[in-house]
């Protein structure tokens, strides 16, 4: 039964990530998840200061708040300046990450908090293998995953037209009052929330991989946006099943197995695909 939950959570988070992934890959925002996962460090420190090391809810609430704030700031800078997305993301996440390190040094020194724990989430975010298989914690992860998956699914379907048009041709979208900024901000905010939830449930490496790999593979094959989104879903499910088997076979963490397979798949397809 535990394996059923594990696979279900993986599929839900993966499905949500590859839905948003299609849009952020097209926009050149592939590293958004990466940036956010680093930028939430100050929230984790504050969460620790408020609730102590075992109080998960503060970590989650504050991390989501900071993650959304970060992603909106990145989007705001992108829309306002002529800077490239990678420059903006590099700037924001190193700043917040360093701020988090400073806070650890200043405020948690006396309580003997191991920076390693905070950095890699060993204590706060229990390693995913135990997390997923452990009986008691499964329901919470599953509920969170279902909620975020449903929100992102409805968002993508209901907003398909403005999402497509604001990604392809912002200016025209603006001229026909489709409010492209609003939709682009929403994508960023949802990536932020998904990233924080995924850190807890499936691990950050897997999320970053699923956010980029299925959408990129689909982009290489698909001629149209809706087929790219659909194809990314199939690639996602395939990667998760094969990656899971691979991870079990060679006895490595599930997230690593899926991420490795994803990377290999993208590499192979890029080489094999005719221009």
């Amino acid at each position: 039964m535990e394996w059923f939950w594990v696979i279900l959570v993986l599929l839900l988070v993966g499905s949500a990530a590859s839905l948003l992934g299609s849009f952020i890959v097209l926009k050149g925002f592939g590293m958004l998840g990466d940036a956010i996962s680093h930028a939430v460090l100050p929230a984790i420190v504050i969460g620790y200061l408020i609730g102590g090391i075992y109080d998960n809810n503060w970590f989650l609430i504050l991390s989501i708040a900071l993650a959304v704030l970060t992603s909106l700031t990145i989007e705001w800078l992108y829309q306002r300046t002529r800077m490239y997305p990678d420059g903006i993301m590099g700037l924001i996440f190193t700043f917040l990450f360093a701020l988090g390190l400073l806070m650890i040094d200043l405020w948690t020194y006396s309580v003997d908090l191991d920076p390693e724990c905070v950095l890699f989430g060993e204590a706060a975010y229990i390693p995913f293998s135990f997390f997923l298989i452990g009986n008691a914690l499964i329901p919470k992860q599953l509920i969170l995953s279902v909620i975020i998956w449903l929100i992102i699914l409805i968002f993508t379907f209901a907003g398909y037209r403005p999402l497509a048009l604001s990604t392809f041709d912002r200016i025209y979208a603006h001229s026909i009052k489709m409010h492209p900024s609003l939709w682009q901000y929403s994508i960023s905010a949802l990536v932020a929330v998904l990233t924080v939830i995924a850190i807890e449930s499936v691990g950050i490496v897997l999320l970053l991989s699923i956010l980029v790999v299925p959408a990129s593979i689909a982009f290489l094959w698909a001629k149209r946006l809706h087929s790219m989104i659909f194809l990314a879903q199939i690639v996602n499910a395939t990667l998760i099943f094969l990656g899971l088997l691979f991870a079990l076979y060679v006895d490595i963490p599930i997230s690593a197995g899926i991420a490795i397979l994803g990377g290999l798949a993208l590499l192979t397809i890029t080489i094999l695909k005719k221009k």
């Binding site: 209901a158 037209r161 403005p162 041709d169 200016i171 603006h174 001629k223 149209r224």
Partner: protein
């Protein structure tokens, strides 16, 4: 032409970016049923003006009215065609998909695409001679074909006013001719076409109304009135040999009555 109600009435418009205004106190009118050009040197604020008109940039002051109404009331009747460099042509979409986007302004988020919409899209594609390319991925189009697709999207919107930003930049001669012909066709149907354009020769030859701009409005009216050597010198600053040639050609145009 002046007596009729203008389609566009711009009054005392000052607009630009955070660093300061690009266009200053711009006022002009554009009558119905013409192909009008907004012309002027590089950096004159032509594209900025167009972006302010369609609400992408907020003006510092001044007003823009279409049929005496605010843009937000009539935007469905206005098709804006951005410069084709503004979009990423590697986006996964076919020619057909992009032209269908022209219908979305009437459909909102939910309304379904009907047979009639498909018929309008087919006609738009046939008009620009791109129907045979409908299933082609847009990354595999030439510059001229991209511009045709953009114009077809505007046609699919079925507007009364077209606003085109540099539609002839980076397109082949054939496409330029075809597009010019199509724009005139639209004007002869009573629609109004406004083209941001930098080539005074084509402007003099093909447009019936001009707004000569260089941050301020230098002159507005029919080409033979606007493109005097005095106005051109004021707009372009100084005497350029190519402009002397232009005014020569214009005076010969003025002598012959236009078709």
């Amino acid at each position: 032409m002046n007596q009729k109600n203008p389609v566009i009435k711009v009054t005392n418009l000052t607009a630009g970016y955070d660093t300061g205004p690009v266009i200053w106190g711009v006022s002009f009118e554009i009558p119905e049923g013409v192909v009008a050009g907004i012309v002027g040197p590089n950096g004159a604020g032509k594209s900025t003006l167009l972006k302010v008109m369609v609400g992408i940039l907020k003006p510092h002051s001044g007003t823009v009215l279409f049929w005496n109404k605010e843009y937000s009331e009539v935007y469905k009747r206005i098709a804006y065609v951005p410069q084709k460099e503004e979009v990423d042509w590697t986006f996964p979409a076919t020619v057909y998909d992009v032209v269908m986007m022209g219908r979305w302004v009437h459909k909102g988020l939910w309304k379904r695409i009907t047979k009639q919409d498909k018929e309008i899209v087919r006609q738009a594609l046939e008009t620009v001679e791109m129907w045979d390319y409908r299933n082609r991925q847009i990354s595999k189009l030439s510059g001229g074909q991209q511009q045709r697709v953009f114009f077809a999207r505007a046609l699919a919107q079925d507007p009364d006013l077209f606003l085109l930003d540099e539609p002839f930049a980076g397109v082949d001669m054939k496409t330029e001719e075809t597009l010019l012909e199509l724009l005139k066709q639209q004007a002869s149907k009573g629609k109004t076409v406004v083209v941001v354009h930098h080539n005074l020769f084509t402007a003099a030859e093909h447009f019936q109304w001009l707004v000569l701009l260089n941050m301020h409005v230098v002159s507005v009216g029919p080409p033979e009135e606007v493109l005097t050597s005095e106005n051109i010198e004021r707009a372009y600053g100084g005497h350029l040999p190519v402009l002397a040639k232009l005014s020569q050609r214009l005076s010969s145009l003025r002598e012959k009555p236009t078709r």
